[in-house]
Symmetry: C2
Subunit: 226 residues, 2 copies
DNA sequence: GCGGAAACGGAACTCAACTTCCGTTTCTCA
DNA sequence: TGAGAAACGGAAGTTGAGTTCCGTTTCCGC
């Protein structure tokens, strides 16, 4: 999670700062297409620098990819927060998940970010990819959606993570992103939104009490199955 | 897809046949826990043989893993066929998907089988993991479920593959297998089954015509989204 | 039992990553 | 502008997997 800086904190030399940016930019491009399989040599080459320089800024490959992962996660969570700030509605969630799917369709790094993150969450300690603050913000978001009664309440935050991760894999495996997103939304029981293009044709006209009934039924089922 | 046999087709020597079985057994065990990351040295060691012997039977690691993948796929498809032979009902599908999720929960190789398979399907030619006959049988199964009006009809076979693959990833990422299966089923609009333990608390008491309406609505939605 | 083909074993080789090392170049500050 | 610290470059080192090679052992038909 932390990088290189020899004495306590001297500002980077101008050229070094420029080079560091070039490295991150190059790595980010490669992360988009190659995912975690990106190679340090390629990063250096694309940045127009030697490998040694890359290692001067990021002591290991993991340190570099951790930065890329954190950056994507930060972006995603911030997007989600602003999407749900004004209204934590079904429509907002649908729009967000669909945009996520679309982005995942063209960014392998983003798909792998969710995978890395959900396995990192399990370990916590000693993991370059783990960031507590982001985890808390993510947690708050899921809770918010559940509190609003939009997402089925028997989903733990870890399950939500896992589902996002699965959606990414589905898209990687060639599934149509829009369709994959829709299956996820219907599966999480997000009611059809009221804005354009996001309806899904299920559960309309169900009374207010039905949601609670359904959660109870699901709990029973889970108990029976496990 | 094919193995080693020097002259046209002489039967294997007794010890060689025994050893081959030992190799496959050992590899299968490792595949369950390590997935495609299994190592040839470990396979040899667990089988109580030298690496050279493993390579005598399987010229490359890919040849070995292809056999494991094919075997799992064969098993899965046969299970699905027999599950849907007697009744292609929602209950049968629910039970099948749930059992799949449960198995995936304890078999990394099975999860990776779906991943490998769905990426292999895309390539077809030149891929050790690709098997046409199995693909056709899988295709028939999905069509059958759709013809019975149980699974939303705007799902292509490739999408179904991708979703199974995603479910595997979700489980790998730590999601509760039963829950992941249920989300998938609800997302695919499989109505709650009428047999024990497979209900999910959605859409009960809906009239017979609703299923068709739902499919039509889904088609509209898909058209709007794509 | 014997001869030759088949099969075995495992040390050594290969190859493709990541990482280190150190001589050279560039910047910054007085 | 000159000294010294900081940064750079890229060849060489390391590591960890898959794969090959060939001397030795085991089987099997005569």
């Amino acid at each position: 999670m932390v990088l290189t800086q020899s004495p306590p904190n001297r500002p980077l030399r101008a050229d070094a700062r420029r080079n560091r940016e070039a490295i991150v930019t190059a790595a980010d491009d490669l992360f988009r297409t190659e995912g975690l399989a990106l190679q340090m040599d390629e990063v250096a080459q694309r940045a127009g620098l030697g490998v040694g320089t890359v290692y001067r800024h990021f002591p290991t490959k993991e340190a570099l990819t951790a930065e890329l992962v954190q950056h994507r996660l930060e972006t995603v969570i911030t997007r989600a927060e602003s999407a749900m700030e004004t209204d934590a509605s079904a429509a907002a969630i649908r729009a967000f998940i669909h945009s996520m799917a679309r982005m995942m369709g063209e960014d392998l790094g983003l798909r792998e970010t969710f995978q890395v993150q959900s396995t990192a969450d399990a370990k916590r300690e000693e993991c370059a990819y783990y960031n507590c603050e982001l985890h808390d913000r993510k947690y708050a978001l899921v809770r918010k959606a559940q509190a609003a009664g939009i997402v089925r309440s028997d989903l733990a935050v870890e399950d939500f993570d896992a589902l996002m991760c699965g959606m990414g894999q589905s898209i990687l495996a060639g599934g149509n992103p829009e369709l994959m997103a829709d299956v996820l939304l219907v599966g999480m029981r997000v009611p059809a939104g009221d804005t354009a293009g996001c309806a899904a044709g299920a559960d309309e006209g169900v009374g207010a009490g039905a949601s609670a009934d359904r959660a109870a039924a699901a709990a029973d089922v889970a108990a029976a199955l496990l």
